[in-house]
């Protein structure tokens, strides 16, 4: 009798838990949409906080350069090595340039750059806004007739949208250079053939599509990170939780958004391919 009771008491509990998870997801999504609406409301309000935007551009753009140079360089080198080894088997080594170029511009550079910026800047955004929230500094801004969304969120999101395409451009450049060095230096692939195939197959649309992706990722990663920070409660532990959530939710969202953006970009920009 005891054992037969276990499933019957467990199953409604499980479905209730599941229901709770769904409800809380919808609740969080709704809060995020309200937050995004508030962001757009304040985006074009005066004063335009250009000095704060420049400050954030320096933090997100200039100070992320070393990590982008490193990850971009090594990603390109690994990619050059892998494709080089595989393509040599079919005597198609010259296609390394075009393959690496297309993969970098369309997918790898925007996604990897976004993940790096999430790790470095998204976490910092959530932590700094979260700390300001739990120490009442966000409320203090409000009481001084300054909208925290206008002062804290708008500059971060704008800077992120502006800097992500530039960082992605750097990633593409360094990655291609890394692949070129490995392919021509280590695998003895003809440099001219590498460059010829690269410039023949990779065109402006590919680079432009990658930049659009980067800007969209920049928007999502920064607004998600700021929102997590802004919703922080419960002191230091809360700040830690918000930071973790900012990184996890931003990273997952980037990959999900990437799928939909890719299908859209392929439809509109590269329909002929």
């Amino acid at each position: 009798m005891f054992t037969s009771n276990v499933p019957s008491t467990n199953s409604p509990k499980t479905s209730r838990d599941f229901g709770k998870i769904i409800l809380s997801f919808i609740h969080e999504l709704g809060e995020f949409l309200f937050f995004t609406r508030e962001f757009f409301h304040w985006l074009f309000q005066r004063p335009y906080r250009s000095s704060l935007i420049v400050q954030q551009m320096e933090f997100i753009g200039v100070r992320s350069l070393p990590i982008i140079l490193l990850t971009g360089g090594f990603t390109g080198m690994v990619f050059g090595l892998q494709t080089g080894y595989a393509f040599r088997l079919f005597n198609a080594g010259s296609f390394v340039g075009s393959t690496v170029g297309l993969a970098l511009t369309r997918e790898i550079a925007p996604v990897f750059t976004a993940l790096m910026v999430v790790a470095r800047c998204g976490s910092a955004m959530a932590a700094s806004i979260g700390t300001m929230k739990v120490t009442e500094q966000v409320d203090a801004l409000t009481t001084m007739a300054v909208s925290p969304i206008h002062y804290l969120v708008v500059p971060r999101v704008v800077a992120s949208v502006l800097m992500m395409p530039l960082l992605t451009g750097v990633f593409i450049g360094v990655g291609t250079f890394g692949a070129y060095i490995v392919a021509t230096g280590l695998l003895n692939i003809d440099p001219n053939a590498f460059m010829q195939k690269l410039t023949y197959y990779v065109d402006f649309d590919d680079v432009f599509g990658g930049m659009i992706k980067a800007a969209v990722f920049g928007f999502f990663l920064s607004i998600i990170s700021c929102e997590r920070g802004y919703k922080t409660t419960k002191g230091a532990e809360g700040v830690g939780l918000s930071t973790t959530q900012a990184v996890v939710i931003s990273s997952v969202s980037i990959l999900i958004v990437d799928y939909f953006l890719t299908s859209w970009i392929l439809e509109f920009f590269s329909g002929d391919m």
């Binding site: 309000q45 500094q137 009481t143």
Partner: protein, 254 residues
């Protein structure tokens, strides 16, 4: 007396806990009103309703004739220029120096030159006796000093309404006395220029009866007594909690 702030049947709950229960009262203009009550009875929640950091579930809060929640986001933000608020934790911007903290509201809302801003910041810091700490960052200051910088920042734009959230909590007796004196003097000094309405949240009975023009006693989400300090001393209020809460104080002083 013209009321500056009116609570009209205000109710606020968090989950199942009713923090403010159909509260109605008025705070007169140009006076120093202290909202007194034991800790955890919703005094800070009350204060946050005045400046629109919280929205009532029911009822209205009218400030200077305007219901904050009938305004748009932008209008509400503009409206808050009438306020200065000193937080319990002072809530100084920890990435800025004392100077930058006090200069912040001035930079945001006026087009004064750097020179004018500097002289204004110095004047306010002198009022709170901290002109020497101008280049320090908040983490280098003691709790009492932080509160004084917070006060300098709150009065930087000479607001019409000053809100103080537990200004003396966690301070030693000397610092408590000094902050009380400061609140009292600020009220008098700013009053010379224009009419300032001050609202102080406190559970410190001793301080309250020294500085208040009007005392409001909040207990279990309701106002149980409201009057001048003398009314309390003369035993005008018969609610058992009023006697219990004030007993210690009056036994000592009367």
């Amino acid at each position: 007396m013209q009321p500056m702030i009116q609570f009209q049947n205000v109710t606020k709950s968090f989950g199942t806990q009713v923090v403010l229960n159909h509260i109605s009262f008025e705070i007169p203009a140009g006076k120093l009103t202290v909202i007194l009550g034991p800790s955890g009875e919703g005094k800070s929640v009350l204060l946050k309703h005045i400046i629109g950091l919280m929205k009532p579930d029911e009822g209205k809060v009218i400030v200077d004739g305007v219901d904050l929640w009938s305004l748009s986001d932008k209008e509400r933000t503009e409206f808050r220029k009438k306020f200065g608020m000193l937080f319990q934790s002072a809530a100084l911007f920890d990435s800025m120096t004392v100077f930058e903290n006090v200069a912040f509201p001035i930079r945001e809302h006026t087009s004064l030159s750097e020179e004018e801003i500097k002289s204004k910041v110095l004047e306010k810091l002198k009022m709170v006796g901290l002109e020497k700490a101008i280049d320090k960052i908040p983490s280098e200051l003691s709790g009492g000093m932080r509160k004084r910088v917070g006060l300098a920042r709150a009065i930087a734009l000479e607001p019409k309404i000053l809100l103080y959230d537990e200004p003396t909590t966690g301070l030693d007796p000397l610092m408590t006395e000094s902050i009380n004196q400061l609140i009292y003097e600020t009220q008098k000094k700013l009053n010379g220029q224009n009419s300032v309405t001050s609202v102080v949240i406190s559970h410190d009975v001793e301080s309250t009866f020294r500085v208040a023009d009007l005392v409001v006693l909040l207990y279990r989400g309701q106002i149980i007594a409201e009057g001048r300090p003398d009314d309390f001393k003369n035993g005008k209020f018969t609610h058992p909690f009023v006697k219990e809460f004030l007993r210690g104080h009056f036994e000592k002083n009367i």
